[in-house]
Structures are given as structure tokens and as C-alpha cells.
């Protein structure tokens, strides 16, 4: 997003910007617009979840019960913590504490990977039971259409979220490398700030997915 990402620690102002503050503002604001757009990508799925939950309330509740509560809950804690560490990384970079920044980012990356590992474990458990999306669904204990749709949506929403997670890991990894090489410093922390914003969005979506897919309400 930072169109004129500086190649050295001395920030370069693009010709179109009046000054550095404008450029920083543009990058920051552009990221927010992008995040808003990203959120709307999930909107359709939220809408479908609403509709099918209304239509198949009992089956949804039963299917929610089937998901591994401990995995979902562990993952929500992991992501909240990683949100904190990435915020802490931004905070530290602004105060020129490079080591703390790097450590915070490293913990964030580990958290992200851990999240994906748990997610993978859960997918594996589902696959063994025959809980596949769509036509391939073959779970005998919940043969109803509602459960099938629930799991299709589950795969779609958590899958899309996991893709964003992978994207977030790539961005944070890239920023970590920049910080480590001294390319992103307190003089122009924008790449890290933007990466962190993205990470927080991914976290926020999971905060909503958690009650939708793991907390039973029957």
C-alpha cells in the first residue's frame, strides 16, 4: 500500500504529495479504505450465515456444538494476544526500540503460525469424520441440510479467514525483514503501521467468527 516505500531510512516524498505528513496520511487512510473493502468481502458470507441460521436454527445449534470449542477458543486467545504484540511492535518502533520491535513481531508470527496449525488440526479432525464442504459432505451423525450448509459456510468463512491469515503472515514477515535490515525505522514507520492494521482486521474477523461457529446456543 505504501506506494513510495522508502528504500532507505530517509523517507522519500512522492512528487504528488506536498509533504511527508500528507504522504503518511495518504498511506494510512488508503489502508483504512482497503480494510473497509476487505470487511465487505466477508459481508456476503455474514448475510448467508444470517439467512441459513434463521432457516435451520436447530441444526445450526447442533452443528456448532460439534465444532471443537477448545480449538476455537484457543485460537481466539492466540489472535488477541498477537494483536497485542503487533501493536506493541508499532509502539516500540516509534520509540526506537528495535529489539523489542523485532521480538514482538517474532511472537506475532509464531502466534499466526500456531493459529494455522490449530486450524489445520481442526480441519483434519473434520475430514476424518467425513465433514467435507458441499456435495462431498458425508458426516453420518448429522445428515441434515442445515448441518451441511453450516459446515460449507464454516469452511468458506474460516478458509477465507485463513487465507487472510496467510496474507497477514506474509506482510508481517516482510515488515519484520525490513525492520531487521533497518529499512523501516521510527523515521518512517508506515510499512509496519499498515501491516499491523491488516493484522488487527484479521484478528477482528476471528473475534466474530468465534461465537458464530464455536459457541453453542441450543
Amino acid at each position: 500500500m505504501s506506494d513510495h516505500g522508502p528504500q532507505s531510512s530517509a523517507p522519500r516524498v512522492g512528487i504528488q504529495f506536498q509533504d511527508l505528513a500528507k504522504q503518511e496520511h495518504a498511506a494510512h487512510f488508503g489502508m483504512w479504505v482497503f480494510l473497509g473493502s476487505e470487511l465487505l468481502l466477508f459481508a456476503g458470507l455474514f448475510g448467508l450465515y444470517t439467512a441459513y441460521r434463521v432457516k435451520y436454527a436447530p441444526e445450526f445449534a447442533e452443528a456448532v456444538h460439534h465444532n471443537e470449542l477448545w480449538i476455537g477458543t484457543t485460537n481466539v486467545v492466540i489472535l488477541i494476544f498477537s494483536s497485542f504484540t503487533v501493536a506493541w511492535a508499532v509502539h516500540s518502533l516509534r520509540r526506537d526500540r528495535r529489539r523489542t520491535t523485532l521480538w514482538s513481531l517474532a511472537i506475532t508470527l509464531v502466534c499466526g503460525l500456531l493459529f494455522l496449525v490449530f486450524k489445520g488440526i481442526e480441519y483434519g479432525m473434520h475430514f476424518q469424520e467425513g465433514v467435507f464442504p458441499g456435495h462431498h459432505y458425508a458426516y453420518k451423525e448429522m445428515p441434515g441440510h442445515g448441518a451441511q450448509l453450516f459446515f460449507t459456510l464454516y469452511y468458506f468463512m474460516t478458509g477465507l479467514h485463513a487465507l487472510h491469515m496467510i496474507g497477514g503472515l506474509a506482510v508481517i514477515g516482510w515488515v519484520t525483514a525490513r525492520v531487521a535490515r533497518g529499512r523501516t525505522t521510527s523515521a518512517y514507520p508506515v510499512p509496519l503501521v499498515l501491516g499491523a492494521l491488516y493484522w488487527h482486521l484479521v484478528d477482528s474477523i476471528w473475534i466474530f467468527l468465534w461465537p458464530m461457529f464455536y459457541l453453542t446456543t441450543s
Binding site: 505528513a21 500528507k22 503518511e24 496520511h25 494510512h28 487512510f29 483504512w32 479504505v33 480494510l35 473497509g36 473493502s37 470487511l39 465487505l40 466477508f42 459481508a43 456476503g44 455474514f46 448475510g47 448467508l48 444470517t50 439467512a51 434463521v54 432457516k55 436454527a57 445449534a61 477458543t73 481466539v76 486467545v77 488477541i80 494476544f81 494483536s83 497485542f84 503487533v86 501493536a87 506493541w88 509502539h91 516500540s92 516509534r94 520509540r95 521510527s186 514507520p189 499491523a196 492494521l197 488487527h200 484478528d203 477482528s204 473475534i207 466474530f208 468465534w210 461465537p211 458464530m212 459457541l215 453453542t216 446456543t217 441450543s218
Partner: protein
Amino acid sequence: MDKTEPQVMAEREHPGSGAKYVVALIALLCLTALTFGLHYVTVGELGMAVALTIAAVKVAIVALVFMELREAMVATRTVAAVAVAFVVLLCLGVFADVGFR
């Protein structure tokens, strides 16, 4: 509308204390625990409503503190509010159909 750019600069040059991040983290974990506890107590649609309300509060904390929306410009805050509003709008429009057929 964009008069507050100096604030961003100020935030960059004089970062506040990190205590707010720690407080936010503790609040988020407490709310998570609360949701977890409540889901054994509340049932049905009420339980879902409670859980989603707490989730909304948590996301608000993430946005305001971690994402620094509290210090952000009006325009940025508007972007965030509009995006959320349209997600809600889509769900409401669909609900008004499926729920009342």
C-alpha cells in the same frame, strides 16, 4: 475534514505510554472469558445476541486502541463506521426476507 493531520504527526513524535495496550489486552481477555462463561448460561438466540454484542465490544477495543482509531481523523473513523454499517445493512435486508417469508 482533514484538519487533524498534525495529530498524527504528534502521535508519531510523542508516542504515549504503552500502558493502554496492556489494559486493552487484559480487557479483551476478560471479555473473552466472559463470553465463554456466558455461553453456558444463556441459550438460543439470546445467547447468540449476547455473544455477538460482546464480540462487537471487543472489536471496538481492537479498533480504538490497537488500530488507533481513537486518535485517527474523522475521515478514517467514517470509513470504519461506514464499512461496518453496510455489513449490518446487508444482513438486515436478507433477514427481512428470510425471516418473514
